[in-house]
């Protein structure tokens, strides 16, 4: 590597500031624990006609899974509050995620599916990314609030009522998980297809 290329690399603008990267990886860890233990908790009283294979769950039995779930929830929630607060205060959400125009979403989705989507500028999100990242932040907020409704249906009964009661809140919690897992599948697949994006989330550039 020549001196010139080092200089270029160093002066290149940071795509993801440090706080985004730290929050991202803490969240990644917390969400894996929440999903793995959540699946085991689901298996104790399934809402649908299936259970999650035990090999992909965490905690080994209900009590173990609950210990994991209610430990990781603190990390998830505290990290989530820091992330959303900084996202709003620094203006990053406004700059990066908005506006989301339906016309652009369709155009970028079509380009993506035909492998014609440009990846030359990582500092700007395309419309599909904007939609998905905004969506997963909202799903995160819903999963935390519905989770609180299930955990504390008496102390937080007003919140539980907002979700249509205890039993309904369990379904909301489940489908918020489905949305997040669906996002994760696409998100991880795309990060692996475009490794530079993964690098940007690790070293910032």
């Amino acid at each position: 590597m020549t001196a010139a290329t080092i200089a270029t690399t160093e002066t290149r603008a940071t795509i993801h500031p440090r706080w985004v990267r730290v929050c991202h990886w803490i969240n990644a860890l917390a969400i894996l624990v929440m999903i793995g233990s959540g699946w085991q908790i689901y298996n104790a009283s399934p809402l649908f006609d299936f259970v999650f294979p035990r090999q992909i769950t965490l905690g080994n039995w209900l009590a173990g899974a609950l210990l994991w779930h209610f430990a990781a929830m603190w990390i998830l929630v505290i990290n989530g509050i820091v992330y959303v607060t900084l996202g709003i205060v620094t203006g990053r959400f406004r700059r990066k995620l908005f506006p989301i125009r339906p016309v652009e979403v369709f155009a970028d989705l079509k380009a993506a599916l035909t492998f014609k989507l440009a990846h030359d500028d990582f500092s700007r999100y395309n419309a599909v990314q904007k939609l998905l990242y905004t969506g997963v932040i909202l799903a995160g907020i819903v999963i935390v609030l519905s989770g609180l409704s299930i955990w504390k249906p008496i102390q937080l009964q007003e919140l539980t009522a907002l979700f249509g009661g205890y039993d309904a809140a369990r379904y909301v919690h489940f489908f918020a998980m489905v949305a997040i897992v669906g996002f994760l599948v696409v998100h991880v697949a795309l990060a692996l297809i475009v490794p530079k994006s993964l690098r940007a989330m690790i070293i910032g550039r």
Binding site: Q55, N60, L62, A71, Y166
Partner: protein, 257 residues
């Protein structure tokens, strides 16, 4: 694990029989091992943090921290929502770590509720004396730690009134309940004094059937189902946390709703 005194005349087989569906593995410790998502976690962190006793110790410490958080969140006056009779789940599910036909059989004629600990009057109570206490009724939601819920109708005496009657020191931290089959529970005093915490003698206005805990259940709508003991034969007001059947196996101690 704490050792429990076994009540004479109770089949000890029941005491060691665990619910297979709740506890799939013989080894309690093994609940911390194995699983693909766990593998992913190890991969991500680059080290095996989930190895044995350290992880279990940390998780239990956090669970104790959660006890404190829940106690702080608990309102002594906030009532559980109540429901109309039409909302009652029928048939109301039987639930225990044994089959229904293995549930304890308590003889109501010879039954006496033993009172111990920080109380002025430790005289045991017969069923007739307990039935003579002023009756209250509630139709509330029973929420199981497994996730399912069911609405039931329970009648009996308010526990806080009873504690007053026996001269209990309500500044004590805990109330401990012992059940006929060896099951036990320790609860926090604020929950014991909650207006909806009930010494239950009836389900849907009928004397409690065996399946639902004859002769006495402690109904606490503010706690998960397993913290609502059935077949209660003794209670103790105490400053010592004496644990409980499921709590000792790893379920959260406070388990408030």
């Amino acid at each position: 694990m704490r050792q429990r005194k076994i009540i004479p005349g109770v089949d000890p087989k029941l005491l060691i029989k665990d619910a297979a569906k709740l506890m799939p593995d013989a080894s309690r410790r093994s609940f911390l091992r194995g699983a693909a998502s766990l593998g992913a976690l190890t991969f991500l962190t680059g080290c095996d943090i989930i190895d044995g006793e350290t992880a279990e110790g940390v998780l239990r410490k956090i669970s104790e921290f959660n006890d404190g958080a829940q106690a702080a969140l608990f309102s002594p006056t906030k009532l559980a929502p109540t429901y109309p009779e039409s909302a009652i789940t029928r048939p109301f599910p039987f639930n225990g770590y044994y089959d229904e036909d293995e549930a304890p059989v308590v003889d109501g004629k010879t039954y006496k509720l033993e009172i111990a600990g920080l109380v002025e009057n430790k005289k045991p109570w017969t069923l007739d004396e307990l039935y003579a206490l002023p009756e209250v009724s509630q139709i509330t939601r029973h929420v199981c730690v497994e996730g399912w819920s069911a609405i039931g109708s329970w009648q009996g005496a308010t526990l806080s009134e009873f504690l007053k009657r026996i001269g209990a020191d309500t500044r004590a931290k805990y109330v401990w309940f012992q059940c006929a089959e060896g099951y036990s529970n320790t609860i926090d005093m604020p929950t014991a004094l909650h207006p909806q915490t009930q010494m239950t003698f009836k389900f849907a206005n009928q004397i409690l059937p065996r399946a639902y805990g004859f002769p006495m259940k402690i109904r606490m709508p503010t706690k998960l189902g397993f913290k609502n003991p059935k077949y209660v034969v003794a209670m103790e007001v105490t400053n010592t946390d004496k644990g409980g059947y499921w709590e000792d196996k790893g379920y959260n101690w406070f388990s408030g709703l």
